[in-house]
């Protein structure tokens, strides 16, 4: 037994973990039922956590980082691998994402939970490809991506754009204004929203994009008012979102009735910053605070700056749970083996089981719609079962009508 164990130790050591990542503690360990248990050794996984906890969307980064740290702390109490968090804060600066990701991967880190914006994720991907790393991405995004070095754990457009636009149609709203941050999240979610709304016969009466990190200018609010929009789809993030919602709420008090605002990613992470201006806002999400159990709420109280559970917090927490289970099962931190292990044995996370599609690398999620009231979200709609991600929106088969041939008329001389 000991000889066999020694061989396994050598094999796993060479194949998987960097020398500094293994700290022998005892003299033997066991392997059974295909699982590798670190009985006798302490296997330490260095886990990269790259979140902007400062900068224009710091609240989202802080919430996601807190979720990952909460999971690490929680797992340490159980039969888990030892996870050493390697924390980096790019401060919302794209160049910093590249630099920090490179440094982390060059130091031997092979798994990263991180990136908030798609812009930052796209900065990280070439480095992950170069170094063979794996990014566990815990945020909702706009779809149309499927990289072999990413596991997509956040909501795809069929989880957020489709339910929100269906809800808008069901409410009988007819004039929708689109406003988003001026980068790929805003561009693509609003393009998809436009397609979905137009397919339902709803007019899109305007579209404006605001630079990332900037306050939303008044003329955008003027246009919404001038266009008599009855709904605004809000794909803004950070201060653009806060200033927009507060500006819109201020006008609603002094002028006409409130315009319905719908978001694809508003969460509890920065709900308090918006204050009462968020009341009535509809948001899509794969998880809301209402869904959290005691374990998650306690972790949020301990780790999140605002003490709140959000979809960012919960998904990062779940990501670490999945990594822990997959590394244990694989007996290595080699990304391909860990990914395969995660596919083969979906674990029950704080968000439930989140099976991952082996081809598209996206998690199944339970789409929910919730309305903000007094600083919290109340869920108003939830699918009965988890829904597979459809990042390329293949289920949206609406096509433009084919052009019909123009009948030939008889020629006449025009005098």
């Amino acid at each position: 037994m000991l000889d066999r164990a020694a061989n396994l130790l050598q094999c796993d050591y060479q194949l998987a973990l960097t020398p500094t990542a293994i700290k022998p503690r005892f003299s033997f360990y066991l392997r059974g039922r295909g699982f590798f248990y670190g009985v006798g050794i302490l296997v330490e996984l260095r886990l990269g956590l790259i979140f902007s906890t400062t900068g224009s969307y710091a609240a989202l980064g802080q919430s996601a980082l807190a979720g990952a740290l909460g999971a690490i702390e929680s797992l340490q109490r159980n039969d888990a691998i030892s996870i050493r968090p390697m924390i980096a804060d790019p401060g919302g600066d794209m160049a910093e994402y590249e630099r920090l990701t490179r440094e982390m991967l060059e130091s031997g880190v092979r798994h990263i939970v991180g990136a908030i914006t798609s812009w930052s994720r796209k900065e990280m991907i070439p480095l992950l490809e170069l170094h063979g790393g794996l990014l566990w991405y815990p945020c909702p995004y706009e779809g149309f991506e499927c990289n072999d070095h990413v596991v997509y754990l956040g909501a795809s457009p069929n989880h957020h754009v489709v339910p929100v636009t269906d809800w808008i149609a069901a409410q009988g709203m007819r004039r929708v204004f689109l406003v988003g941050s001026n980068y790929v999240w805003g561009w693509e979610t609003l393009r998809l929203a436009r397609d979905c709304l137009m397919a339902q016969g709803i007019d899109v009466v305007g579209e404006r994009h605001v630079p990332l990190g900037a306050d939303t200018p008044d003329h955008v609010l003027d246009e919404i008012w001038d266009q008599n929009a009855d709904c605004v789809i809000d794909s803004l993030i950070g201060p653009s979102n806060t200033s927009f919602l507060q500006g819109l709420a201020a006008r609603s008090k002094t002028d006409r009735p409130a315009v319905q605002v719908a978001s694809f990613n508003q969460s509890e992470a920065d709900l308090a910053e918006i204050g009462s201006a968020a009341n009535g806002l509809l948001s899509a999400g794969s998880f809301f605070e209402e869904n959290a159990d005691d374990l998650l709420c306690e972790a949020a109280r301990r780790h999140a700056p605002n003490g709140r559970v959000s979809s960012f917090f919960a998904t990062s927490f779940a990501a670490v749970e999945m990594i822990n289970a997959a590394v244990q099962r694989a007996g290595t931190d080699a990304p391909a083996a860990v990914f395969q292990a995660a596919l083969e044995t979906p674990v029950t996370t704080v968000m439930g089981t989140m099976p991952i599609d082996p081809v598209m690398r996206h998690a199944m999620l339970t789409p929910r719609l919730a309305i903000a009231r007094n600083g919290s979200f109340e869920i108003v709609h939830c699918t009965e079962a988890p829904v597979a991600a459809d990042p390329y929106m293949t289920s949206q088969t609406a096509r433009l009508p084919r052009s019909t041939p123009v009948p030939q008329r008889k020629l006449r001389v025009v005098r």
Binding site: V359, T397, V414
Partner: protein, 196 residues
Amino acid sequence: MTRMPVHNFSGQTALVLHRSPEIGQRIKDRCDRLGVKAKVCKDTIEEDTARNADTLILDIDTADDSMLPWPRAEAPMPLVGLIGSESPGRLAWALAQEVDAFIPVSGLGNLFSAMVIAHEVFAKKLERRTREIQLVRRSHGRLDVIRAVLALMEGGRDEALALKQLRTMAMVEQISLEDAATRLLAERRMAGGRAI
């Protein structure tokens, strides 16, 4: 207004021409997630099957003209070329076939992009060919323009006025001058040579 390229392939079919069953299966799985029903062929494709496919994804390392049931560069659907060895000879063959988009075999994660590009390039290629055919046809119609102008001059108009009238007819009907001339002559023949 800029036309949006096709970006939803749901319900379409694809043929995959690749010698490796493993790679063929990977492409088939990925097509499946894009809503595309793919059929994998190892070395050759049948004409009927090929002509009904919306996209052909082929391995340019091993494909040759005899595997494709159409003359070189006359594929009736968009072609996506899978790049393996990057040998200049194979790339030259693929370019001669007018393959519309390329991806490395190691980059199947970008199959969607390749399909969007292939369909757009193919659509523009068809438009360009249609324009070329029209230009050839119009150049052949110059004699009809002269005949139509002469016919219109029979009413006592001079050649400038006759040509102006023919142009106006073409403009109103939104057809070319040559088509207007051909149509005018045809209608005159039907009317027994009477002026209309």
